[in-house]
Symmetry: C2
Subunit: 227 residues, 2 copies
């Protein structure tokens, strides 16, 4: 017999996965490409997304965002200041986003007019790993300020992600961040995982990342049309 707590947890995760699947179908129906952005608190998710959203908008991509925090609407306000639609999800004491929170936040969202949706998760390197939000891609931000060994310390999250973005690279010198070691540590945990370096402040890697998302958006749009 399974222990009771494990059984309860499995049921909750199963319910989340079913809802995530229906969200994924909905996103596919509208041709909306969805990115789940995870990191620890203060890794620069909001700052990087704001820069990307401004740039992508000028390139004709219609971007939206939902953002999870325990408290405050600060991040949604910062993202809405880009001119894009941004919704705050307040999680209270919850340490991660779940599919039903995303569904609720999207209730008044015009997905048909959204090519690219960013879901900025609650800052946490552990708990978001088990929760599918219906995304196409999950990216993980590691800021240079957190040091090189984070990939080794959070292997499970890396194993659920599609791509690692080293953020705050403008501070790499000041904190003596060794990019090669950090990359090698990612490779150790997850051989072949793609990594990129960015700085929202200097703009390093931002064009490249925008181009990466633009290509995914176009790919998804063309698939949606052909369905």
């Amino acid at each position: 017999m399974k222990p009771r707590i494990l059984e309860v947890r499995e049921n909750i995760l199963k319910k989340n996965d079913e809802l995530a699947r229906s969200l994924r179908d909905e996103f596919a129906g509208h041709g909306t490409y969805v990115v789940n952005v995870v990191s620890s608190p203060g890794a620069g998710k909001t700052e990087l997304l704001a820069v990307l959203m401004r740039l992508l908008t000028t390139q004709g991509v219609r971007v939206g965002a939902v953002v999870g925090d325990l408290a405050t609407e600060n991040d949604a306000k910062r993202l809405a200041a880009t001119g894009c639609r941004a919704e705050q999800i307040l999680t209270g004491t919850m340490c991660h986003l779940e599919a039903d929170m995303v569904e609720t936040a999207l209730a008044d969202f015009d997905l048909e007019a959204t090519d690219l949706l960013f879901i900025e998760n609650v800052g946490n390197l552990v708990c978001p790993q088990s929760w599918d939000l219906g995304e196409d891609l999950r990216i993980l931000l590691f800021p240079s300020t957190e040091g090189e060994d984070k990939p080794l310390k959070y292997p499970t999250l890396i194993n659920t992600c599609d791509r690692v973005i080293f953020s705050k690279m403008d501070l790499a010198g000041a904190v003596e961040f060794d990019l090669e070691t950090a990359r090698r540590n990612c490779e150790t945990v997850r051989p072949g995982i793609a990594t990129m370096e960015t700085s929202a402040r200097t703009g390093e890697g931002v064009d490249e990342l925008a181009e990466f998302f633009r290509a995914r958006v176009e790919e998804k749009r063309s698939t949606a049309v052909s369905l």
Copy 2:
């Protein structure tokens, strides 16, 4: 009737609280002052503790540490390099420490010869909040690199902590960290909470913090003797 998941969670927390109470009694019996250190990943807990442990050792305080991570023994190795006893707790996929993990890690620990025990929690600004580890004091590190609004975003954790330490203050200039705003945000969430500024790299605030712990250790020793 309570929902089933809530009931299960309450039972687990209750069991943890009972064990934490017995740990607290044990610490009191040995006159060991115990500090639970929480922060997000990469906030500089290990670096600050290593500097403190070296300093306190030269001042005659017998310090030990247990440190929680999902994977790797890196942090226990860094703390053991100070010459103090340090034990690693590997949590696997768990996002926080619980009292039973601390109890297990202390099995071979000589508490009688330990005046001050640091428990370095898993890097996470949400989940450790509900788990009493039998500590005397819970401190929360906010690095300057995470920005000023973290206190507002993680109110529950601040409300379970006794003191906020702003860490990595040597980087405050580079990241344009506004200390007054950060302090005000702490005060908004938790009026009267004490804050301090530190930098493990430049040594800022380290003497003051060591003195703070030394006073607590002496207070606890004198209480233990008089029991």
